[in-house]
Structure formats: structure tokens, C-alpha cells
């Protein structure tokens, strides 16, 4: 007898499945790890909100059966900042892609990290703009061929953990989506962390990125992660650049304590205002 439901369907908008992601895409796996971490987290799921931007990963909000918002391109973190500050009870998770969060939304990313807004960002990095057909992006490694870098990418890419750490994030981890258990654990740790936490998920985009780098299928990319993934917990984020065919350094790079934006506000306001305050 073929089963009709998956145990995770309770947290999925089942009536929207199958999702739009291609065969071999890694976003679905990142979602599985997120749901699994969420179920273990003990959080009140009525108080968890998922916010996405635009792009393939931007569709995550639409598949997760929680309060979820699909914003404009790049603005997920800015929207989430307002949401979190208006209702501090919420656990706000931003689930979006590298182009959305790091290029068009890069400014919001660094400023939310700087302010240490209490939110968890899950950034699926597939090194290109998948939904629009595989254009060069802020994380595309030097030399990679994409539809808008037909002679190879000539730009230095962002190293996302380094960017997050330098901007002030209190928790920074990177895993390929092959390392599901560790990814799940990191997402759990990020959810439990107070402050701006970032989990970068390296994921294949066989349709638009992988096949132009001689990794035709998702499986080819996973084999590459298997061979070249190196776990270095506590590595200096400045040393975790990703080259076209090089090692992918994974692990938890930053895990520190720091007052959040709201902590600072509360403390500062009660000091400055005394009994005039709320």
C-alpha cells in the first residue's frame, strides 16, 4: 500500500505539493532539515513566522504551513525586522536565496546583523540566480560559467559567513545540504540562539548552475560535496571562501553572546527615561 501522507505534511501546505523545485535541487532538503529542527525545538509553532524574498528559495514561505510571508525581492529581512519588533513573541525565520539576501537584499542583511535583530536567517546558496535561468550572482565563484558570465565569472564572490560575522551575527554556520544531520542540528542551534543567526546551506542547482560546471545532476553536486566538504568548526570565517572546484569548508564558525537590538532598547530606554517609559 502506498502511503498518502508524509509525517512532515502537517507543516507543509500539502495542497501545493509537488513543489516547483527541479529534480536534484537542494532547497527541498534544506526545508526538510528546517522542519525537522523545528519539530525538535519545542517552539510554539503558532508563534513561528517564515519570511522569504524572491527566487527559488523565496518560494519556501509558500510551502511551509506556518504564518508565512513572501515579500518583494531582497526585502525579506527588512519585512521581518518590522514583524519581529512589532510582535517580539514571534520566532522569525528568513528563508531565502543568496541572490535575494546577499545581492539585492545585501544592505538589509548586514544591517540586521549589525543591529543584532533576534532572527534566524537560512540562506540557501546555489551560486546563481536559478529562477531566472542561471545568471551570475554575488556568490558565483570566479571562473564559473553562467548565462550572463558566458566567458566565466570575473567578480570576486561574497564569502557569506565572513560577511555575516563581520557584520555582527552571533551564530554563523555553513553546511552543504548533503550533511543533513549537522545542518538540522545547526538550524536547531540557530533557532535557540537569541540574536541574528545565519545558517548558509550550500545546495545544488543542476538545471541552471551545476550543468554549466560539469556537474550535470544534483547527484553530481552531492558527490562533489561528499569529496570536497571539510568540517572545520570554529574556522576563521575569513578563511572559508569557496572556489569553483575547491574545498567547501563547513561547520559552526561563530557562536557568541551579545545583546540584541531589543535588549539594548529596553535597557537604554529604562535608563534614559526612568518612569516616563512604558
Amino acid at each position: 500500500m502506498e502511503p498518502e501522507r508524509h509525517p512532515m505534511d502537517d507543516l507543509l501546505r500539502e495542497d501545493r505539493l509537488p513543489h516547483i523545485w527541479c529534480s536534484g535541487c537542494g532547497i527541498g532538503t534544506a526545508v526538510t532539515c528546517f522542519i525537522s529542527a523545528l519539530l525538535k525545538s519545542g517552539l510554539d509553532l503558532d508563534k513561528v513566522a517564515v519570511v522569504s524574498g524572491i527566487g527559488c528559495t523565496g518560494r519556501v514561505a509558500g510551502y511551509i504551513k506556518l504564518d508565512s510571508f513572501h515579500t518583494t525581492h531582497g526585502r525579506a529581512i527588512a519585512f521581518a525586522t518590522g514583524l519581529k519588533l512589532a510582535n517580539p513573541e514571534l520566532k522569525v525565520v528568513i528563508f531565502s536565496g543568496d541572490g535575494d539576501l546577499i545581492a539585492i537584499g545585501g544592505n538589509h542583511f548586514i544591517h540586521a546583523a549589525r543591529r543584532n535583530i533576534d532572527m534566524t536567517v537560512i540562506c540557501v546558496n546555489n551560486f546563481n540566480y536559478g529562477m531566472t535561468g542561471g545568471q551570475v550572482g554575488p556568490t558565483t565563484p570566479v571562473g564559473a560559467r553562467t548565462t550572463t558570465s558566458p566567458y566565466g565569472c570575473f567578480e570576486h564572490p561574497f564569502n557569506i559567513p565572513y560577511l555575516a560575522a563581520a557584520s555582527g551575527a552571533v551564530y554563523v554556520a555553513r553546511w552543504t545540504m548533503l550533511h543533513v544531520r549537522r545542518l538540522e542540528r545547526s538550524i536547531g542551534e540557530a533557532l535557540a540562539k537569541r540574536g541574528f543567526s545565519l545558517v548558509e546551506v550550500i545546495a545544488p542547482c543542476p538545471t541552471n548552475y551545476g550543468r554549466r560546471q560539469r556537474r550535470r545532476t544534483g547527484l553530481d553536486s552531492l558527490k562533489y560535496y561528499h569529496q570536497k566538504g571539510v568540517i572545520k568548526h570554529g574556522a576563521n570565517p575569513r578563511d572559508v571562501d569557496i572556489d569553483l572546484d575547491g574545498e567547501i569548508i563547513e561547520g559552526v564558525f561563530v557562536d557568541i553572546e551579545k545583546p540584541t537590538f531589543s535588549d539594548f532598547c529596553q535597557e537604554g530606554l529604562s535608563r534614559a527615561m526612568g518612569n516616563r517609559g512604558p
Partner: protein
């Protein structure tokens, strides 16, 4: 929403400050903004006042973020506002569209300055009136209010919040540097005398709730995030469940029709006009904001010359009061439209007059206000027709 900390009494107050106080009286408890002349005083006042009333002030990294954060706060269940001027208004167009599409109540104040581009940052303009109407891409109806005094900036900011909750959309307060920086008497009534329109929250249980299924007035009841309804909202074309439906135009038709109709069919409730001496007028001065105020003196001079001139002041600019302008066009010789731009609302008046009455624009590039003689000359010219 607690009204603790809202002011009441008579004040000698700057327009921008009155705007902030109007928001507080309306129950606004979240402000996200970015410094920009001549709207900065709104942010400054809010940064001081929000903590006093239990609200949140945050200065975002840009106006894209400010508008996005305001939408987020609104879904978090808090009345939210931002204030800006031309260049920031341009950046906010992106998420204004998201607010319209996701039917998010909030208020956006534009203290207009002269443009284009950086233009004249400290000096008034009214060049963003058509941008207010059509600035974000796609098709929609919008509500925009135009105050002519600090008192009205206070009053209309409250009204903007009420309309935004009632019709579920971002409402624009289109003021300008003259009104924003003008200091005048402002009367703030006691909180219990201020009528507020509370958010229309869903009354059905989550399993029966469809987030974008409208009531009879075409407006869907809302839920805030964290209420346990686990809803989805998206800027994509969506069905009543809030799910994207983008394969063809089957969801686009009813959605767009409804977003437009919920405003158009409720125009009678939304549109406010100030009329004076229109009963026997041969010439109508049709204006708004500071330009309407500076037209009062030349109108008085014209009346002394025996010209029958009346005033049609647009307090609500969008939706445009088409019916009233059409009606007047059948009775009067001409409309005189002074505005601090090169003809924006004048185009609307022309469209509705449809050749039955002449429309004389009194343009101004911004950076000052109309000299009375220019408006008077236009009224004289109109009367000679």
C-alpha cells in the same frame, strides 16, 4: 491599542510634529524611517515619542527597508507608519505595491519637495501627485490625502490610519515642505473624542478562514501573525487562500477587479472635499495642499473685482472626485488649477471636464509657492471666457 501618552490640548506646533502626534493619537505604535529633508522631523518626533507610548522606533538602512518594515509591523498586529520625501518616496514604491497586493494597512507620509532627483531638498513641491497614483508598477487604486495646514496634517494622519484599516491598503498622506514646516495652532482633542477604526479581525476559526476571501464590502477580514491561523501572504497573484496562482489570468481577474473595486465602489465614503462659493461660481479654483491655501487670497481679490469664483479643495486627491468635477464642468466656465508642478491634477480635471469647461493650469516648478498675482491673472482670464 493603548492610547496612553497621546497628547491633548492646544499647541503651537510644526506640521511634521502634528503628523507624528496624529499618528500617535490614531494608535500608531511602530515607526520605521530614514532621514530625509523635509520629513525628518516626523522621524525625530517619533523616536522621542514611541518609547513614551510603548511603541517602537527604528531607523532603517534605507527607504526600501523602511517601507518593508512597516508592512512587517502591520502583520505583527501593530499600526505602523513611515514618512519620507521624493527620493525616498521613489524607493518606497516597490513595497507600496507589496502592501497593496497583500492588503496591508499602514500609512506612508510624503512631505513633498521639489524634484526631480535631489531637486530642492528644503523647499516645497507637489510633483509626486501622479507618482502617488501610479508610482508602483501594475494596476491598482490608491487613497491619498492632501492636508493644507498643520491641523489638517494631524487630522488627516488619523483619517489615513482609519481608511487603511477599513479598506486594507497603505494610505498616502501627500503633504509638502510648506505645510510640514509650517508652525501653527493645532488642537488635539481628548483621546476619547477621536474616532478610530479598529482592525477588522477574522471571527471564524482557522480551519474555516480564507485570508483573502472578502466580506460584502470587498475587504477581507485580517489576522495578525502569531494568532494561530498559519496563513500565507504573497506579492504574487493569489487566490482566496493566499496561494500563488500564476499559470494564467484566472486568479488575476477577480483579484485585480476586487482591489480596484474596493476603493472605487466606496468612493462616497473615502472622498472628502472642501467647497466654498460653488453655488453660483463661474470659475472654480480646484487645488489641494499648500497650493489651495495660497489661492485663497487671489480668490478674495477676484471676488472684489466681481468675479464669481468658488473653491473646490481636494482633501482626498486619490481616488479623484470625478463625479463632482464632471458635475461642475457642466455649470462653470472654467477651472483654474494652481499646483506646485507642471500639471498633474490639472490633467485629471481636464479629463473629467472633457471639454465642457476650460481648464487653466497655474504651474510652478516647486521651490516656493504661487505669487498671488499669477493665480489672480488666471482667474481673470478664466472669467473672460
Amino acid at each position: 491599542m493603548s492610547r496612553r501618552g497621546a497628547l491633548s490640548g492646544e499647541f503651537f506646533m510644526m506640521g511634521d510634529i502634528a503628523c507624528a502626534e496624529g499618528a500617535i493619537s490614531a494608535g500608531c505604535r511602530f515607526f520605521a524611517g530614514y532621514p530625509i529633508t523635509p520629513a525628518t522631523e516626523v522621524a525625530e518626533r517619533m523616536s522621542r515619542r514611541m518609547p513614551e507610548v510603548g511603541g517602537t522606533y527604528i531607523q532603517m538602512e534605507d527607504e526600501l527597508a523602511s517601507m518593508a518594515a512597516v508592512l512587517g509591523a502591520s502583520w505583527g498586529g501593530v499600526k505602523a507608519m513611515t514618512a519620507t520625501s521624493g527620493p525616498g518616496f521613489s524607493l518606497m514604491m516597490e513595497n507600496l505595491g507589496l502592501g497593496i497586493m497583500t492588503e496591508t494597512p499602514c500609512v506612508l507620509v510624503n512631505v513633498q519637495r521639489a524634484g526631480p532627483s535631489t531637486g530642492l531638498p528644503t523647499l516645497a513641491g507637489q510633483g509626486d501627485m501622479m507618482q502617488a497614483r501610479w508610482g508602483t508598477h501594475g494596476l491598482y487604486e490608491i487613497i491619498a490625502l492632501a492636508p493644507s495646514s498643520p491641523q489638517e496634517l494631524f487630522d488627516l494622519t488619523i483619517r489615513a490610519f482609519n481608511l487603511s484599516e477599513k479598506y486594507r491598503l497603505p494610505v498616502l498622506v501627500m503633504t509638502d515642505a510648506e505645510v510640514g514646516h509650517m508652525t501653527e495652532k493645532v488642537v488635539i482633542p481628548p483621546p476619547e473624542e477621536i474616532e478610530l477604526y479598529p482592525r477588522r479581525l477574522a471571527t471564524v476559526p482557522p480551519e474555516e478562514y480564507l485570508p483573502f476571501k472578502p466580506d460584502e464590502d470587498l475587504v477581507p477580514p485580517m489576522v495578525n501573525f502569531g494568532q494561530g491561523y498559519r496563513i500565507h501572504a504573497t506579492g504574487l497573484t493569489h487566490d482566496e487562500r493566499g496561494y500563488p496562482d500564476t499559470a494564467d489570468d484566472s486568479a488575476q481577474w477577480p483579484l485585480i477587479q476586487r482591489l480596484i473595486d474596493k476603493i472605487r465602489l466606496n468612493k462616497h465614503d473615502i472622498i472628502q472635499l472642501e467647497e466654498d462659493g460653488l453655488e453660483d461660481a463661474e470659475v472654480v479654483v480646484c487645488s489641494y495642499g499648500i497650493a489651495a491655501r495660497t489661492a485663497l487670497w487671489p480668490m478674495e481679490l477676484a471676488r472684489k473685482e466681481g468675479i464669481k469664483v468658488g473653491l473646490l479643495r481636494l482633501i482626498t486627491v486619490w481616488p479623484f472626485p470625478e463625479e463632482r468635477v464632471r458635475e461642475l464642468a457642466g455649470k462653470v466656465k472654467a477651472f483654474v488649477v494652481p499646483e506646485l508642478n507642471w500639471g498633474q491634477i490639472a490633467l485629471e480635471v481636464e479629463r473629467c471636464a472633457a471639454g465642457r469647461a476650460e481648464v487653466i493650469l497655474v504651474p510652478h516648478p516647486g521651490g516656493g509657492v504661487h505669487k498671488p498675482e499669477r493665480v489672480l491673472e488666471a482667474i481673470r482670464k478664466a472669467a473672460r471666457r
